[in-house]
Symmetry: C2
Subunit: 137 residues, 2 copies
């Protein structure tokens, strides 16, 4: 088993998958720094991401591999993969076109908690596409 | 139970804590956009974060509340809390001083996977402080 020193300060990539075989991955726009989404990756998805250069996640809902954009066309070209100190979280720095969230926004983080409330949200972005046009039945 | 529509397009903040009572939270530098760390928050930590204006997480290792910087002094002043489409992940936009990672770097994401390797990391940042000076025994 790798030591804390090896994990934190070493040059070996030993991502820590959790009990269900997943590691969280944050997709961040390589150009603007905007955080686009947070999802999970398993070993197979990580290997495919590295091999193909495009982000592949594991959908917990659908329990299957999910190449981002396979349905919508909004692929994520992976420029860089970062790992954190304890190697239990990844950042994918990605190049993207407009509209990364299935709801129609560029980022999934399109709402913020209103100041001085603990319960109320406000929109902080505008839709960049109409999901009804993209996700046709 | 809230509908998909309410969760994704509503103005009610209904963060989805997982089976262990936690929701992942990404700390992002409000000024530079740099992702600093990823951690977990439980209901109590979230309430304290909102009430105090400083980031409080829940440490899975130590199984207790963890006010970021309580030991190191590197507090995170929370400027904005964002939530994603399905309300199962948060971003804390924070104002910070130098050195957010306990290993000595500004961000926990100080290593990247080397191009054309699936196993080898390279450092992409330099230390901004000496942790031995901060975390004295």
């Amino acid at each position: 088993m790798a030591t804390k020193q090896t994990i934190e300060e070493g040059l070996e990539f030993i991502p820590k998958f959790d009990d269900t075989g997943l590691i969280p991955a944050i997709a961040q726009d390589a150009k603007t720094g905007q955080v686009l989404m947070s999802a999970f990756i398993n070993r197979e998805a990580l290997d495919l991401t590295i091999q193909t250069g495009y982000a592949v996640y594991f959908s917990r809902d659908r329990q299957k591999l999910w190449k981002k954009g396979e349905e919508s066309g909004h692929l994520q070209k992976v420029e860089q993969i970062l790992v954190d100190c304890d190697q239990d979280c990844l950042i994918l720095k990605v190049t993207v076109d407009a509209g990364q969230c299935h709801v129609g926004y560029q980022s999934c983080f399109y709402r913020a908690l209103k100041k001085d409330t603990g319960k109320e949200l406000e929109f902080v972005a505008e839709k960049v596409y109409d999901p009804k046009e993209i996700y046709k039945k």
